[in-house]
């Protein structure tokens, strides 16, 4: 993963609240051993008309669905209703969204596991006040800037909205550090922990 400092894009709006991971990518598309190419299944059941998806050969796109509108084709920011990403721990959800071209999700609440998974895949979770998200949803054609270093989202008229971002996650994003590398570098400490096994540690036999 290379460094990511800015996301600059107009946005796609999904007002729906509690968009769960089964909507982001239905379970029947999880029968894969790959992480690539899942964008075609993103929001599958909302995106295609009557396509039952079991044989997603040439399902007809639902023209009313936001991601099918031509003007939204290249947009990298999603403005979504409250509690985005609730449900399962499937990392296929952020894989599908990044494959679809998204780089940031803006919502007034983002579910824990989804947020963790998103950050590991360079997909920025941006949590703002509900009123601010609503205001942004009114102007999807504004080019927004998400600034990872400044931890703020800016609008073309000069407004800036601060959002929380864990320092570690920020460093990982900016420097393209990966967490596994970081953990592997802690192996000496892990070994000490294991040898001086805390008495609470137990072995399954």
């Amino acid at each position: 993963m290379s460094g990511l400092q800015f996301v600059r894009s107009r946005s796609v709006v999904l007002r729906q609240t509690n968009i769960d991971t089964d909507q982001i990518i239905p379970a029947r598309f999880l029968s894969t051993t790959e992480r690539k190419g899942l964008g075609r299944y993103a929001f599958n059941d909302w995106r295609y008309l009557q396509g039952d998806g079991s044989a997603p050969d040439e399902p007809a796109p639902n023209p009313a669905f936001a991601f099918n509108r031509p003007e939204n084709a290249d947009r990298a920011i999603l403005l979504a209703g409250r509690n985005f990403g609730c449900g399962s721990s499937r990392e296929h959800a952020p894989w599908a969204l990044t494959d679809l071209g998204l780089q940031a999700i803006v919502s007034s609440e983002i579910a824990d596991i989804f947020r963790n998974n998103a950050l590991k895949n360079g997909l920025l979770p941006v949590v703002l006040d509900e009123a601010d998200v609503q205001a942004l949803m009114q102007r999807p054609d504004d080019e927004l800037t998400v600034d990872v270093r400044a931890r703020e989202l800016r609008t073309p008229d000069g407004r800036a909205y601060a959002f929380p971002l864990d320092t570690f996650a920020q460093t990982c994003l900016l420097e393209g550090v990966d967490e596994l590398g970081y953990l592997l570098a802690r192996q000496p400490q892990i070994q000490i922990y294991e040898t001086h096994a805390h008495e609470a540690r137990q072995h399954a036999r």
Binding site: R15, Q16, T17, N18, D20, D22, Q23, P26, A27, R28, L30, S31, T32, T33, E34, R35, D45, D52, S54, G81, R82, N83, C86, G87, S88, S89, R90, E91, H92, E109, A111, D112, I113, N116, N117, K120, N121, D166, T167, F168, T171, E179, L180, Y182, L183, L184, R186, Q187, Q189, I190, Y193, E194, H198, E199, A200, R201, Q202, H203, A204, R205
Partner: protein
Amino acid sequence: MTAPRTLFDKLWDAHVVVPESEAAPAVLYVDLHLIHEVTSPQAFSELRARGLSPARPERTKATMDHSTPTLPAGEDGKLPYASQASALQVETLARNCAEFGIELFDIGSAQRGIVHVIAPELGFTQPGMTIVCGDSHTSTHGAFGALAFGIGTSEVGHVLATQCLLQRKPRTMAITVEGELAPGVGAKDVILHIIGRIGVNGGTGHVIEYRGSTIRAMDMEQRMTLCNMSIEAGARAGMVAPDETTYAWLARAPRAPGAGIAGSVEFAHARARWSRFVGDEGARFDREVRVDARDIRPTLTWGTHPGTAIAVDAPIPAPADGDEAARKSLDYMGLEPGRALDGTPVDVVFVGSCTNGRLSDMRAVAQVLRGRTVAASVRMLVVPGSEQVKREAEAEGIDAVVRAAGAEWREPGCSMCIAMNGDLVAPGQLAVSTSNRNFEGRQGPGARTLLASPLTAAWAAVNGRVCDPRNQIAAASRKAEAARQTAEVAR
């Protein structure tokens, strides 16, 4: 003296390898790592790509459950997989486990089953442990006083490679339930009631500890049902402090210390260690919720997320002005506000999953089905959560009861809970399901799901529509009483 600590604090403190700081999360040690076919293949690929191998393969246990068929092998000896991709996924797990020396409860193993059913059954799940799995319902294992939570596939790779995870310390929440549950009301109703109250995001950022007399009175299977659905309130994990009920379960578990021999020295040592994992008197939580057990009625969901839980006889709420989500939910479900769910016609009934696929759930269903038949308009599937549950249920004749009633008795697996293996609810059909998620399309494209307890589900199957199990129980006991009196008169 140190400040009193919650159960969560003790679990956390015991597993910190490197404490957290502003700059970095804690490095947390993982005692038990569970994997299944769906969320592990990409983690193994990552390991291979980096030339790594598992640090502690003996601390990872694997099984197959999501994509596996619940119909037996055909005449050709082949299992009826839903797709080639599913079969490949299962094969891939077997290959990865063989290559890296990970114990696998494979197809054909007498211990295979849903990951959250078999680990407690075997005794891998123990108090005081950290337990993770690439599956959000890992919260189930918290029923034993473990810190257990779901992780993503990248993190599966982290645990395989280092036996550790990077974690920020979550906040704590106590949910205290006091009082006796009414007949016909069980653990599933309790957790649906709680989610209905605190909301589908009410636990976000928190680890829940369930406490109070109602919880103490629950057996381990009920506690698992409760902790299982913590994630449906957005919580990272749910837990119950261990007690005699917990130790009695572990005393019979074949892979727990002492190999399930209650009197052994090894077991006694383990027990002494486990018993330290209870919260201290006066420990503070970030948030506290109190629930009166007497307020809990049989509960189901009406909408498309588990937060839409209401009592069976309560009216479906009318959407507030501008609440597009609720309106869309009702539309999808084909339900009308103002009416109770009681009486709603049902097409499919599913009993199973890591929420309610255990022996006590099978027994609850058999109790209703015995001497009755499933309504002609209903398709009912009963899917044991593991090979062990299946074996034990069959030893009690439950399979025969289920079949005689006209329901299908299947092989163990996740089945219609996630509809990945070909078991699905048809578009537009309404299912009463003992699983944990009622999201749009969860049980198949266009499928409509009402979450409920096994008892409520079984009565719905018999009557062809949702009904209040309390009325059914009352009617059944009136009938029994009348029969007794008639018999007495005859004598």
